[in-house]
Subunit: 437 residues, 4 copies
Amino acid sequence: MTTLSQQVSDLVPQLQSWRRDLHQFAESGWLEFRTATLVAEELHQLGYQLQLGREVIDAEARMGLPDASVLAAQEARALAQGALPQWIGHFSGGFCGVVATLNTGRPGPVMGFRVDMDALDLNESLAADHLPVREGFTSINSGMMHACGHDGHTSIGLGLARVLMANQAKLSGTIKLIFQPAEEGVRGAKAMVAAGVLDDVDLFTAIHLGTGVPAGEIVCGSDSFLATTKLDIHFTGVGAHAGAKPEEGRNALLAAAQATLGLHGLTQHSGGVARMNVGVLQAGTGRNVVPDTALLKVETRGANNEINDAVYQQALRVIEGAAVMYGVEYDIKLMGAARSCKPSQAWVEFIHQQAEKLNIFSSVVDTKSAAAGSEDATYMLERVQQRGGQASYVIFGCDLAAGHHNAKFDFDEQIMAVAVETLATLALHQAEFKVPA
Amino acid sequence: MTTLSQQVSDLVPQLQSWRRDLHQFAESGWLEFRTATLVAEELHQLGYQLQLGREVIDAEARMGLPDASVLAAQEARALAQGALPQWIGHFSGGFCGVVATLNTGRPGPVMGFRVDMDALDLNESLAADHLPVREGFTSINSGMMHACGHDGHTSIGLGLARVLMANQAKLSGTIKLIFQPAEEGVRGAKAMVAAGVLDDVDLFTAIHLGTGVPAGEIVCGSDSFLATTKLDIHFTGVGAHAGAKPEEGRNALLAAAQATLGLHGLTQHSGGVARMNVGVLQAGTGRNVVPDTALLKVETRGANNEINDAVYQQALRVIEGAAVMYGVEYDIKLMGAARSCKPSQAWVEFIHQQAEKLNIFSSVVDTKSAAAGSEDATYMLERVQQRGGQASYVIFGCDLAAGHHNAKFDFDEQIMAVAVETLATLALHQAEFKVPA
Amino acid sequence: MTTLSQQVSDLVPQLQSWRRDLHQFAESGWLEFRTATLVAEELHQLGYQLQLGREVIDAEARMGLPDASVLAAQEARALAQGALPQWIGHFSGGFCGVVATLNTGRPGPVMGFRVDMDALDLNESLAADHLPVREGFTSINSGMMHACGHDGHTSIGLGLARVLMANQAKLSGTIKLIFQPAEEGVRGAKAMVAAGVLDDVDLFTAIHLGTGVPAGEIVCGSDSFLATTKLDIHFTGVGAHAGAKPEEGRNALLAAAQATLGLHGLTQHSGGVARMNVGVLQAGTGRNVVPDTALLKVETRGANNEINDAVYQQALRVIEGAAVMYGVEYDIKLMGAARSCKPSQAWVEFIHQQAEKLNIFSSVVDTKSAAAGSEDATYMLERVQQRGGQASYVIFGCDLAAGHHNAKFDFDEQIMAVAVETLATLALHQAEFKVPA
Amino acid sequence: MTTLSQQVSDLVPQLQSWRRDLHQFAESGWLEFRTATLVAEELHQLGYQLQLGREVIDAEARMGLPDASVLAAQEARALAQGALPQWIGHFSGGFCGVVATLNTGRPGPVMGFRVDMDALDLNESLAADHLPVREGFTSINSGMMHACGHDGHTSIGLGLARVLMANQAKLSGTIKLIFQPAEEGVRGAKAMVAAGVLDDVDLFTAIHLGTGVPAGEIVCGSDSFLATTKLDIHFTGVGAHAGAKPEEGRNALLAAAQATLGLHGLTQHSGGVARMNVGVLQAGTGRNVVPDTALLKVETRGANNEINDAVYQQALRVIEGAAVMYGVEYDIKLMGAARSCKPSQAWVEFIHQQAEKLNIFSSVVDTKSAAAGSEDATYMLERVQQRGGQASYVIFGCDLAAGHHNAKFDFDEQIMAVAVETLATLALHQAEFKVPA
């Protein structure tokens, strides 16, 4: 293992360099045009076989896609910022996914590793004590910031690609590196699953850094993700002069208000956590007009898929009923979704053993009770497990300058090497893993 | 006219006697068993041709009918209080309507006069200063009281019957005296219309005493009644233990609460007054059970039929929507209804002229802006007018001891003779009326 | 009167020229910087004594004022579009009111005429059949359009100023021409009243063109304006992650939804029309965040001041209660207000007589039942009447290309001359008016 | 232990006899007049020192007390059914608590055992397959039924009293037997705690039979009770005629509806289960009257006291806000309350050991995840633990004919002997218990 450790150590400057470049040119979900071309080029140069864009992203299964005009403008922006023209055609129109495959030619399972590439819709802090400010790599893209560490994830993915290719001779089976767009808002994973990307994966590992796990600790099988559904509801009524002809209106705002109150009463479930949030309500055009439009941005969550689905089904009923009450039309758009998650016990145990043997963690745990969040890699775990594969979600604890999704978020870059070494170890020792009967 | 005036004067003790007997044996809507038998007997004795019960009440069109058990118990109560067994069979089951016809054999129009017979669901005051207490004729029926003067109306109808029969030789055409049940809650008139009672009436007059009109004044064509619809809505959900299995319930109480808020937002209409009241909400069985039942008692009103209908239609939508929101069933029962009212101008003018000539009123007016109430004789006016007839609603002002529907309501009994004289005059002078082209 | 008629006739090209210039440089409420400087210059040149800006606008009484940054930017825009630098200092900061006085030196009452100057927040139609397109004078200011005819009103005011000065010798008493900003949203009149502009006016006339009154008709005492109050309500709660820490939030959106449902239940009043509209609701920042802000744009209306005030007082209670329910703060900003209106009977009759004598109207009426709108000149009528003066609101019917507030609104420019002639006549014949005892 | 086992065995017929008598004369909460006198007499005859009524029930701390008229009528009913006149004075007015003390004179801790005595407000099934029907001991008190096994609990308490007195010589310290009224609705325990009953108890055990635990199993430290608060909220507004003077009303029903929707949105808490139920809403007097009264029956629950208190505090805010919205008064009455529960680990282990040694259970467990219910013995556990004592809640699994609170509930009477033997064992072996440092 000394060799691997040394290889990873040599990679540290490159990891930092990748990460800071990605951080500076942060790209939000479905808009990772520059990122994806750079990732494709690197993997191509390394000798991986590539699947790109529509090959790995099912168009219909994409959720929360920006408008076509935004997609076009952002593609142009990306090109101006150094996106590689030879690759960008694959990603045009919001298909920024990359899958790189290394078939060793030796028998063995298909191992999948998934990282995500998107930034958040957030303006980065320009405070002097924010490290990216001091070191000069803050995001130059207004309203986009890597405040969740996906710049690190992408770099880890690239680093892993390098190390594995360098150790190709020691590997067996097939390696599949999955670079996913649009994890924020849980929008992208489902489209990769729908494209069949996971259909041949036997051993699957998704990762995250930080998330409140302390530095030095690895969580080998995070299982606390909430299932979730993200919805936009548009009510469309009929406007009318509120003073002169109120009876001619059909009030979309009142439908939205009633729906909101109904929705927030749906969270009692004996099976576990159920959540509902109407996070945004925007309705009406003028003070003296019966409002003819209303938009609700809603999310449901559940401790497991069944609870989330139950809340979601009831939410549909509430929305329909509110529309009926006011005689307005409505349209529901699915904007994102993720599943709850039960990592495969045997695979978690294998990761646990390998992590302990690495001797680079001060603490190796299987699960961690955590603040309730959601993650769409769960769709990938679910797909792999449906087919009989093993899957887990690994978290690498590290120091954070501020919480995730905060404008001053930053992470200790050393974690990238730790992650590369751990994941590479899983691949290099894969032969030791015994699939449970 | 001296003769008529004298005849009416002679009738005063009888009017008082009738009225006090009816007052003492007050009977609420659809339960006027004793009243109806006494009315039938008197009219039969006078020589009128009678139509009774199902002949004048359409069973299906009855609204707000008490339960069968109440009907049976009250019929027994009535018999014990002197209801006449020879007539009661006609009224059994809630058909307490009487129509008496006098066909003079001489050509002429059919004149209809309508009085109502029902008491209110109210306990009469037993205060020493309440005249029925002093004079010993308070209601002996608990929860029933003539607090709106319908005892007077019935007595006026009987007095009119006597006077017209006495003056039969001076009359032409046909006289039709209509004694209606269940005006309170606007429940009974529609069923008489549906039975065809008004289908041959050419000149129609309904009456009320009091209503805030000052003593000495007659309103010849009251036109301020609001159209109204009375609804009972039953939501039926599914109960569940609120602590243990909240998700298994379907909450009828929440549906009712949402519906209520929706209903109370329906009263803006550029066409005029619109009203909504959820007067009663009763829901749930126990503190720790998801409520599986809810009852709403609702009324809509409108300055005219169109407005009331518009509000009513929207209310149906609100109710349906609220049920959809919570996945509960609902049932709507029509409990009462009345129409707005446009008295026929020519007939109002004729009444006005006759009233002035009588010289017994200090003020004769056509209309009176009044507090917004409803009255189901409006169905009768509407039916007569639909067929080309003339119709009006006359109010005889008089002193009241307390407001209508008050436990201390009482009226100056002299008004009964005034009303009899006026209505008889209309009949006796009918030949002077010229139907407008 | 031939002379006056001829004078006005000569003025027609000038009226059109003024109007089209104002139309092209449409300026919304409180932003009439260019308009006000041109009006001031014209009146100054004519020899009127001017009161400007803060002299005629009470700073604190202004409602619905744009932000300081908007005021500054629009002032710069106005200067670039030809606003006169020598006058603009008076209007800087949102004080675009002009009052021009002509004291004849002869005894007599103070006559006030009020016109308004502001455009609407609307993009003008660019359709080929829209006359301002054909004639090349559509608004060059994005989001601002004279779609209510105030460009015509201002031109009428200037034309009246010319004619009266030309006929100065025939006048007695004092003439006061009031050019008001920000009538749209009923924001500006109250501030002119508060500045004392109306405190010496004995005979007051406000005007409007169009409003559905047919061409050829003049309404001498329009009395159907609804009293109104315009409110912005800001609820401020506490955000929180909706999935992870929902209990830490204080939900401003839910407060706004509950308030909305409560507000829409306030419109039943036995005294007459009551109106409520929550025209806009904007709340929340992100789907997965407990919403910490909500904005409601609300208006109340009433058939008279008492009803509007009653609804307004109840609305305050509803808003406070909704804030208490969710533990959120709230702030209410008054954005506009107007009063109901009872024109002075004697002054209406005088206008009626003069209009008939002019022989230029095919129909002269006192009032017109109309769709319910509001108008803040009512504050001026109220102030004049409080002091014992006579006041009315006159409408000049004319053909319209499309309804008021429509992007294709346009009026027949001939009405401007009609209005000037009528108003000038009132001044020239003022001596004939006898103030009632 | 043979001796004890035999003693208990001999007691079986008496246990059944007591239980069936109590079952037949079922008495609901605060109305256990007959039960309490029989309990007092038995304990007195055995030689226990008694504290009765107001000595063990704090008057002010009682919750959900029936009206004085009900209390009086039920006391009379009890006397007619054999309540003992010599004891009833202590319990008169709703103070049906009994505490029996045996001071051995030997040093040692105070051991407390608590049983409850009240029935449910329920009509017992009269179905032929219901054992109390077959055996002829169904409740003769209409609307009262022992459908939760408290008749068994009381009998166990009496049996324990007999056995312990018979083995007095083997005991040390003090034995305190606590017979509590009004556990249903969690109304009575707090008043016994407030009276100081638990203030000297060092080792405390409360019990329940059934609750879904299988026959043969004992749960030594049940910890799944939800903290709960039961509230009645009365809103008082102002009535008005809904058609004629709607603006004069202050609508208590609308306040209740808004409050209900607000309350049902309060159940999201990251700390664990939170529950809310508006189980009953009763409002209004008549269809055409603005409702001036409304009653809400509400309960909150929480996985722990902090969560329940948080929901309760928010609920108070929601209620106050709803009252403010409609300008109505409100009154909140506390109707019941219970705490969450953390049994003392050392005491649970001791019970566990003793139970295993008894060799009468097929399964001995510490806790059991169960459907979420509440229990007010938790106030007693809390009080004992606050003072440094040890406390637990023990469940004796047994076969049930139907679920708790079901009209056909019945339990296998053999469980009573099992419970007596177990509890007596705890007392007889108490000296073996080592209080943790």
